[in-house]
């Protein structure tokens, strides 16, 4: 068997093996080392001797052995501590399936419990970690990406990313036993912890999706990774409306990827996109998911956002968009999660349904909001509404202000181009800007 196909086989198994070990033995860092050693064994042995009948079971058994070897080589005191700790976990060496540790032959181990991906996600997205660390650890431990790949995706040096991951692991280690199993689904903290996991998956998706084409393809892979992981969570929790909602939101948003920027990286706003280039299969999958979730699960913010994305995606032309429905959905979203960004989006919808002046009125309610101070998005929305209202000079001014406030290069180019299409603000004689240097 060629080496690279062994690696293709190993990669998706990594998180399952790690998940199983972490669930059983609790010690994240030690488990990760053991898994790395088992993967190394596999990459050496499998090309020579062939792939075992049950590759996952083989890896779990070998990694478990590596872990016990590691523990045996440590001091007796240390070993006693480990035993005490792991005994507290169901499924640990003293637990129901603890006999597997060091006893089973490679290949005898049963396939990993499906809960393990979730265990690992809950661990990586623990609330004691800052979001950047949650994201990095999730991609490393659950996604199986290398540190170098994650560093490239986030445009930081590999040493910086390695440090972020290692610090997150230390934090988990220091937090000790509190990182055992995720809370049971019926416990209230389960939904809080799940919300943290979904937020991290959403961040990973956005990090990839908001990237423009060209040099940033490594970042775009993050989108596929986020969808893959969210699908895994959806398989484990098929009845959770917010998990379905997030998966639908990702599919319905990613469906527009090919149309949202030109080959040179310039942005194409939703209204001007070539809808023939939207991914029809992703749209129908996302729409089916969100319709089913809305019919049976309690409503939540990801579901509402997915429903809004579905309304956009289902319009054959921009002018066919059902803005009244989008406005109604934003009103629901504002009740669920009030905040200035939702209000901003509602202002756009109001502008489309009741006219730009009504939208601008909603926007003026945000003027004193410190949470949006210096945020270019307010100016972007204001500029669009002013342009719709025919106030071209003021719109141009707003586009230029937005272009100065954004830290995104493609957005800045887009906003400057929009401004340039509009006539200049009328100026009194003598107030004309100084001519550029010769």
């Amino acid at each position: 068997m060629p080496q690279d196909s062994v690696e293709d086989l190993l990669r998706p198994l990594t998180r399952q093996v790690l998940g199983t070990l972490v669930r059983r033995y609790g010690q994240f860092e030690a488990c990760e080392d053991a898994v790395q050693e088992a993967l190394l064994d596999a990459s050496v042995q499998w090309p020579e001797r062939g792939v075992p009948a049950n590759p996952l079971g083989w890896l779990i058994t070998v990694a478990s052995r590596r872990l016990t070897d590691q523990w045996r080589s440590e001091s007796a005191r240390r070993r006693r501590e480990v035993t005490v700790f792991t005994l507290e976990l169901p499924g640990g060496p003293g637990g129901p399936d603890g006999a597997a540790l060091g006893a089973a032959e490679p290949g005898e181990e049963r396939a990993a419990d499906t809960d393990d991906t979730l265990t690992l996600l809950f661990l990586c997205c623990h609330p004691v970690l800052p979001p950047a660390a949650q994201v990095a650890l999730t991609l490393r431990a659950v996604g199986g990406l290398t540190t170098a790949e994650i560093a490239r995706a986030f445009l930081v040096p590999e040493a910086t990313m390695a440090q972020r991951i290692s610090r997150a692991k230390q934090r988990i280690k220091a937090d000790g036993a509190r990182f055992g199993l995720p809370p049971q689904p019926e416990r209230p903290e389960h939904s809080e912890r799940l919300a943290a996991v979904l937020h991290v998956l959403y961040l990973i998706f956005n990090e990839g999706y908001t990237t423009s084409s060209g040099d940033d393809l490594h970042r775009a892979e993050l989108t596929a990774e986020a969808i893959r992981l969210t699908r895994a969570v959806h398989r484990l929790l098929p009845d959770d409306g917010e998990v379905s909602g997030l998966l639908a939101l990702m599919l319905l948003t990613d469906a527009r990827r090919a149309a949202r920027s030109r080959p040179d990286g310039t942005l194409v706003p939703l209204a001007d996109q070539d809808r023939g280039r939207w991914d029809a299969a992703a749209i129908s999958e996302g729409s089916a998911l969100i319709s089913a979730a809305l019919a049976r699960a309690p409503i939540g913010p990801y579901q509402v956002q997915a429903a809004i994305a579905a309304v956009h995606d289902e319009a054959a032309r921009a002018q066919d968009t059902d803005w009244a429905q989008i406005l109604a959905l934003y009103e629901v979203l504002e009740r669920l999660t009030p905040g200035p960004v939702v209000t901003l989006n509602r202002a756009v919808a109001i502008g489309m349904v009741r006219g730009p002046r009504a939208g601008l009125e909603v926007l003026s309610g945000l003027d004193g909001d410190h949470r949006l101070a210096g945020n270019h998005r307010v100016e972007v929305v204001r500029a669009h509404l002013l342009e719709m209202a025919g106030d071209h000079a003021a719109a141009r001014d707003s586009y230029q202000r937005a272009a100065r406030l954004t830290t995104s290069t493609p957005e800045q180019r887009y906003l400057q181009a929009r401004a340039a299409r509009l006539p200049r603000l009328a100026r009194e004689p003598g107030q004309a800007p100084a001519s550029p240097p010769a």
Partner: protein, 120 residues
């Protein structure tokens, strides 16, 4: 978000310091760099050579002109930078405030442009 923290100081002023004062300052910088490396926030940074080594390049009508300087006697000069990747501009400002030059001269916090964009 990535921010560049621009360091401004006056080399002549530091030259007048006693050796142990300068050493204390360098140690402070080393400790802060170590801390930022450990938090995974440090992206990079460089110190610039003395302003007296500066060259200015201008191209007019396609002809480059390279001159020494400027040696303007300004109090605060651009001396180097560090780049950090952190949660917020408040955190970037907090790091800048701990850089010793902030106490004697000034630090500037500038957001770095990126290539991501939201749906417009």
């Amino acid at each position: 978000m990535k921010y560049m923290l621009l360091i401004y100081n006056n080399p002549a002023s530091y030259e007048a310091w006693a050796e142990d004062q300068r050493t204390a300052l360098f140690n402070e910088v080393d400790a802060l760099m170590k801390e930022l490396r450990e938090t995974g926030e440090l992206v990079g940074g460089e110190a610039l050579a003395d302003p007296s080594t500066t060259k200015t390049v201008r191209v007019r009508d396609g002809i480059p002109a390279i001159t020494d300087g400027p040696f303007a006697e300004v109090k605060e000069q651009f001396a180097g930078y560090i780049t950090v990747d952190c949660e917020s501009v408040e955190r970037a400002a907090e790091i800048a405030a701990r850089w010793p030059d902030a106490r004697y001269f000034a630090m500037e916090v500038r957001a770095i442009m990126h290539t991501t964009s939201v749906e417009l």
